[in-house]
């Protein structure tokens, strides 16, 4: 296929954390994201899943340059965003937007819905008159399922789902190419989730959006994504097309995650294999040697402690970072 829209290479985000003494402690890097690579084609959705604290949100923000990357490259249409100056970055931002997790916190409480949605227009389309902006805002509100008559309402007068629609309208109004959705439905009621996810998919089809969809809900990721990436402690465990990942996961962590997805039918639920991971997520300040997952992996061997697993995989487009990916699927 064509050249990728977004090409992320070995992206690292480390935070210096002071360990030791109060006055003269040494800094240890907290590896929130440690060498993640992927690429995205136009119109594709990449789902990113993982536990809390595995670096999902950090990845989304680092791609958009909302967080400074420690090293690595984020190539957007062949240009490396990490090296752009303020002006170049602003120009690039026109095409990349983000939808946040907490719908209310992501809206300025002192601005009306109309002003919030219009803000990107005012930043990038300064030549538009107020009436044009208003028309565009109302048009966008209708597209995301908000009544245009509510332009003058304030965020606290909307429900969570409506607030998230405002957030989506703000992200979509410039007609971006890439949208990072950082757990857009986690804070919503289950009944509203489906609506918002379907809205996102609809907009994606209509606008040919490329999306990075971050979530810890595997069912929603399966519904919306073309490809899925599994993160653990700032590193990629497995990346594959949706069907391959859900049908034949190769990494023991992915297998464990999938086995933990609730199944509505209790008969099926009882019948299926359970994989219980023991232990806690290790501290990213002091990650395990070799494979970071080995402390909780049922397949861990001495090799895992010594050598970091290379990128391998059953076929092109399905990559696994595990020494034992050829072993049969885990089942107790």
């Amino acid at each position: 296929m064509s050249e990728p829209l977004l090409d992320v290479r070995d992206l690292k985000v480390h935070y210096p954390v002071r360990t030791g003494g109060f006055l003269h402690g040494a800094y240890t890097p907290l590896k929130a994201l440690d060498g993640v690579s992927f690429d995205l084609k136009a119109g594709e959705t990449l789902g990113i899943v993982g536990e809390s604290g595995c670096g999902k949100s950090t990845l989304g923000r680092a791609v958009l340059q909302l967080l400074p990357a420690t090293s690595g490259a984020v190539a957007w249409l062949g240009r490396n965003l990490t090296e752009l100056d303020t002006k170049g970055l602003k120009a690039a931002r026109e095409h990349m937007q983000i939808v946040f997790q907490d719908p209310l916190a992501s809206l300025d409480p002192r601005m009306t819905a109309g002003d919030i949605i219009a803000e990107p227009l005012r930043n990038f389309r300064g030549s538009l008159s107020n009436t044009e902006i208003k028309a565009k805002v109302k048009d966008m509100m209708a597209r995301v399922g908000l009544h245009p008559a509510m332009v003058n309402r304030y965020p606290h007068e909307f429900s969570g789902g409506q607030c998230q629609r405002i957030g989506i309208a703000r992200a979509m109004i410039l007609g971006p190419k890439l949208v990072v959705c950082d757990e857009p439905v986690s804070a919503l009621d289950v009944s509203i989730r489906a609506q918002v996810v379907n809205l996102l998919m609809e907009l994606q089809r209509a606008m040919n959006l490329t999306m990075i969809f971050i979530s810890h809900d595997l069912s929603i990721v399966r519904h919306i994504s073309h490809r899925v990436m599994v993160l653990y402690l700032g590193k990629t465990m497995e990346i594959a097309s949706r069907d391959a990942l859900y049908a034949a996961p190769r990494h023991p962590y992915t297998q464990a995650l999938l086995a933990a997805v609730p199944v509505p039918d209790p008969v099926k639920a009882r019948a299926r294999a359970k994989i219980v991971l023991t232990g806690e997520l290790p501290s990213p300040l002091n990650p395990p040697s070799g494979c970071v997952f080995r402390t909780r992996c049922p397949r861990a061997t001495s090799l895992c402690a010594e050598v970091e697993p290379p990128r391998e995989g059953p076929d092109a487009g399905h990559d696994v970072w595990c020494h034992h990916w050829r072993a049969p699927t885990l089942a107790p």
Partner: protein, 303 residues
């Protein structure tokens, strides 16, 4: 047919529906403030006092600096001569002097606070939002100014530039913005990690527009409370400087000057102390009640 009509009318009504007016947090706060009786009454009293200070002196028979040569002495209230609250020890009308003094005191209070507001909010928001070295630099500068004693500072200014009304604004403004800057900086620090600021950055907002459009409106609630509590503080400060003889010059007067003169004659003529003291106390109480009311109105955790 009727049902079909209904649906189409309904759709038409939706299309044509006028924009619903939202109620902003400010409007909510204003409603809460008005339902606070102490604050509401204080606002009315304060308005009356301010209006009287501005307009009433023109309507009085005696100007504030006119000496009643027939009665060059402290005289009790005398309605026939037009001295409604009597005169001071050199025969000037006390009511006129108190009202004109109130003009000066209120003006110093409001203007110096506005100066403090402008500098404090700018410095605080910039320091808090940019952080890092800029923050360090600005805040250490604030610390430095904090360490200069006010009276000492004013006396130096007077010695260097002579007695000057504007110097008082400068001196008071230079002290009062420091606390404002610290408050705003603290608020900004907690605001800048909120998601809506991140969203503004993602939408391509420049640093300046984010501070002006998102940070400042959101810290204003806290700042306004502080402003209403700063105004009386400044009025007191001015009185204190005038009391020391560093304030306004005769025959111009202020509440601080009047209190000073009244205190000198406390035994012979307590009226000359009581009249300006009542005016000033009422005003200060009003400001404090309004400040309290505003805090209650703006605080209830936003929504």
């Amino acid at each position: 047919m009727s049902s079909l009509n209904l649906t189409s009318t309904h759709a038409g009504a939706l299309e044509a529906a006028a924009e619903v007016e939202g109620r902003s947090l400010w409007q909510d706060a204003w409603r809460r403030l008005r339902s606070n009786r102490a604050a509401y009454v204080s606002m009315i009293i304060l308005a009356i006092v301010a209006l009287a200070c501005v307009a009433l002196p023109y309507a009085l028979p005696w100007a504030y600096d006119a000496i009643d040569w027939d009665h060059v002495e402290a005289m009790p209230p005398n309605f026939e001569l037009g001295h409604y609250l009597g005169t001071d020890s050199v025969g000037r009308d006390l009511l006129a002097r108190t009202l004109v003094g109130g003009r000066i005191s209120l003006m110093v209070g409001v203007l110096a606070t506005l100066v403090a507001l402008l500098i404090g909010v700018t410095v605080g928001a910039v320091a808090g939002y940019l952080g890092g070295r800029v923050d360090q630099l600005l805040m250490r500068f604030v610390d430095l100014l904090y360490s200069v004693p006010l009276t000492f500072f004013v006396i130096i200014l007077m010695v260097m530039f002579g007695r000057n009304f504007i110097l008082m604004f400068l001196a008071i403004g230079a002290v009062e913005w420091l606390t404002m800057a610290r408050i705003v900086r603290g608020q900004t620090l907690s605001l800048k990690n909120k998601e809506f600021i991140e969203a503004a950055r993602a939408s391509g907002g420049s640093t300046f527009s984010i501070i002006a459009r998102h940070i400042v409106p959101n810290v204003l609630g806290v700042v306004i409370v502080y402003v209403t509590l700063t105004i009386p503080q400044v009025i007191l400060l001015e009185s204190f400087l005038s009391f020391l003889g560093l304030g306004v010059q005769e025959p111009l007067t202020s509440w601080g000057v009047l209190l000073n003169e009244g205190a000198a004659e406390l035994e012979a003529n307590p009226r000359t102390l009581i009249v300006p003291a009542v005016f000033m106390t009422v005003t200060l109480f009003c400001f404090n009640f309004i400040g309290d009311g505003l805090r209650d109105a703006l605080d209830p955790k936003d929504r």
